[in-house]
């Protein structure tokens, strides 16, 4: 007896762009175009939102679905939720499905929390008896006991989202399809959502989880589907898929080369040739995570004989906070020596377990004689430092702090209290 709960075979979905958001979607135009026999030559653009998607999912699996925006993840979920039909191909589903594509679908602002629980529950597919039975649990989960009889339009956005999720969380489908609901709500809410989903999989139900939160996907899902441009890129064990995703999609340039000196940043004294970043034990294409030691290397031409050059590199975060500015003060070979004309290579090493995860920008500044600016080039390179997946952490949010060093703690028992 097959354990497959979802079997997708060559699913394709075509959208006609012209018809969808046309400003002339009116009856009057339909009638007039009927009379204009040759007036219908407006070309209708089409786009394949999904192309030849095939995969199988077994009972009790938690499957992540990751990909860029526009990869087709939500469209896939919509089709599996039966909201829209595929253009070709088919999907077989064994078991009752429940979809959470949006939090609070059908909530009416004029109705109270109590009334909306019933309404939303019915919309999601629960019977009135079922809702009544779970009513207290739902209210407790949402933590809105005091406001249950107030119209929902008076709720704060946090309360709204908690209530909406509480109702959906008490759906008991055999297959749960969740689309990025974690994007809404604060950290506490996200934690609750994920715990509930873990709960669901513990009970042997199947979960399909679309998310951009890779940590959550890593912790919840055993296998992950990676989609791009409407196609399935890969489907397999989560760690490998996530690494592939990061490598293919999240990487920004790790190397820039200017072969033509005239086009390169610089002046008639100094010209940049290249800049690259590379983890210590790896190639420039490898992703850097917070534990990796990595090198930043710059190659540059010195065009003025006997220049006392001081290159410096500045690292800034996405919020424009300066992480550090570093110069080769302690460099033994060339620091303090006059530079002959020629191509130079300077490199420095950033230790692992220093930087927090996130996106960083590199800027380069050249100074001569330790004081006079030659030129500065900002934001030459952008790179990401990724969360480490080697450490299994239960924390799903982003840790604060520009740096995230692993510091040595000591703990000792000073005085034991004996009763």
């Amino acid at each position: 007896m097959s354990n497959t709960v979802i079997k997708v075979e060559n699913l394709c979905k075509l959208y006609r762009l012209g018809e969808l958001h046309t400003r002339t979607n009116s009856f009057r135009d339909k009638v007039t175009s009927f009379f204009k026999k040759n007036g219908n030559t407006k070309k209708i653009e089409t786009i394949w939102a999904l192309k030849d998607i095939s995969f199988e999912i077994d009972k009790g699996e938690a499957i992540g679905i990751i990909g860029r925006n526009g990869a087709g993840k939500s469209t896939l979920l919509k089709i599996l939720s039966r909201i829209t039909k595929p253009t070709t191909g088919k999907a077989r589903i064994n078991g009752r499905t429940g979809s959470l594509l949006e939090v609070g679908t059908g909530f009416h602002p004029e109705l109270t929390g109590r009334e909306n629980i019933y309404l939303n529950g019915a919309i999601l597919g629960m019977y009135k008896k079922e809702i009544s039975r779970k009513f207290d649990e739902i209210v407790a989960f949402a933590e809105i006991e005091k406001f249950i009889d107030t119209p929902v339009k008076r709720y704060s956005s946090g309360m709204y989202v908690r209530l909406a999720f509480a109702v959906a969380a008490h759906l008991e489908p055999e297959i749960l399809l969740v689309d990025e609901v974690l994007a809404v709500g604060d950290f506490a809410f996200q934690k609750k959502c994920l715990e509930k989903m873990e709960d669901v999989t513990d009970k042997g139900k199947t979960v399909l989880f679309v998310s951009h939160n890779l940590t959550a996907v890593r912790n919840l899902c055993k296998r992950t589907l990676f989609m791009d441009c409407g196609r399935k890129v890969d489907f397999g064990d989560t760690p490998g898929i996530i690494t592939k995703y990061i490598g293919q999609v999240l990487s920004t340039k790790t190397c820039r080369i200017w072969n033509d000196m005239k086009q390169a940043p610089g002046t008639d004294e100094v010209r940049l040739h290249s800049i690259s970043i590379q983890p210590k034990n790896g190639t420039p294409e490898d992703a850097i995570d917070i534990t990796n030691t990595f090198f930043i290397e710059i190659k540059y031409w010195n065009l003025k004989q006997n220049n006392y050059l001081n290159p410096s590199v500045t690292l800034t975060t996405e919020d424009n906070a300066t992480v550090f500015i570093t110069t080769p003060l302690t460099e033994k070979e060339w620091h303090g020596r006059p530079f002959p004309r020629g191509l130079f290579r300077s490199e420095f090493c950033v230790p692992g377990n220093l930087l927090n995860n996130g996106r960083y920008r590199i800027s380069v500044l050249f100074v001569k004689n330790q004081q006079k600016w030659i030129f500065r080039e900002q934001d030459i390179l952008v790179f990401d430092v990724h969360e480490s997946f080697k450490r299994q952490s239960a924390y799903y949010g982003k840790r604060l702090g520009v740096i995230r060093p692993v510091l040595e703690w000591t703990t000792e028992l000073l005085n034991e209290l004996i009763e």
Partner: protein, 273 residues
């Protein structure tokens, strides 16, 4: 293997899944209840509006058509005559407006949750149904005042009620599906309602219409529903078996047509709305 659902492209005319509709029957109630609650919450008169509207219409029609224009009302007291027409007509015209926009108003449900889409236009009749019941009670009351006791033709009343429902639902389904594609249709509905009103003997008897023009009225299916109402409740008008049969056939075809057109368009709702 228990309930396996196969998701695949749909083409052409699709059968109606009554079993599924039955499973989701509670949702029809909830959606209708939601519309009714939303309409009357934070209002002064609340449900009393359901009485104010027909009463006001009857007063105006009696005054304008009965007293000023001096039209005849098939031998019935004018208020009673018009109220009977108004009760039936209001349900039809209100339901037509509400069902036409029902899918548009529930775009968020259509694009985010699955349930049989037929639920939405069916539920949209809920408001009209509640108003109908209230004004029908008013009608009974008025009948009592004028001394009209129930007569044996009353057994036909449920038939006309049902046929009226069929036509209303059928046209509503058709328009609701059409308006997902052509959003401006909802603006045409008030106009349509107005014009339709004039060719239906709601506020004046058929006998007022010149011979040559009666065919316009005869072609209008609502004429027969309203005449049927008056005949079964108040005993006026000429209804024979032939007319009932034709009206019945017509109503059922309209319903079936609406249902199948809706089902055919259904798979595209989420994409084109």
């Amino acid at each position: 293997m228990s309930n396996q659902i196969v998701i695949e492209p749909e083409k052409g005319w699709i059968r109606i899944n009554f079993k599924e509709l039955y499973e989701y029957r509670e949702l029809i109630g909830f959606l209708a209840w939601r519309d009714i609650m939303a309409q009357y919450k934070q209002t002064v008169f609340g449900v009393a509006w359901a009485i104010v509207r027909p009463v006001f219409s009857v007063l105006v029609y009696t005054l304008v058509f009965g007293k000023v224009a001096k039209l005849s009302s098939s031998g019935l007291p004018y208020p009673l005559f018009t109220l009977c027409g108004v009760v039936a007509w209001s349900f039809f015209s209100a339901s037509l407006s509400q069902s036409t926009v029902s899918l548009l108003n529930n775009t968020n449900l259509l694009t985010k949750v699955y349930f049989p889409r037929l639920i939405i236009p069916i539920a949209s009749l809920g408001r009209g149904a509640v108003d109908f019941i209230i004004s029908f009670i008013l009608l009974i009351f008025l009948m009592g005042i004028y001394g009209f006791a129930p007569i044996k033709t009353i057994i036909f009343f449920p038939i006309f009620l049902l046929l009226g429902l069929c036509i209303t639902l059928g046209i509503g389904l058709f328009f609701s599906a059409l308006s997902t594609k052509y959003h401006d249709l909802k603006h045409a509905i008030p106009f349509l309602n107005q014009m339709w009103f004039w060719v239906t003997p709601v506020a004046y008897g058929l006998e007022n219409i010149p011979e040559k023009l009666t065919y316009i009225f005869y072609l209008n299916p609502m004429t027969w529903i309203i005449q049927g109402f008056r005949w079964s409740l108040l005993g006026v008008g000429e209804i024979n078996l032939q007319k009932i049969l034709i009206t019945g056939l017509f109503s059922i075809s309209v319903l079936l047509g609406g249902l199948f057109y809706f089902r055919r368009m259904e798979s595209e709702f989420a994409d084109i709305i």
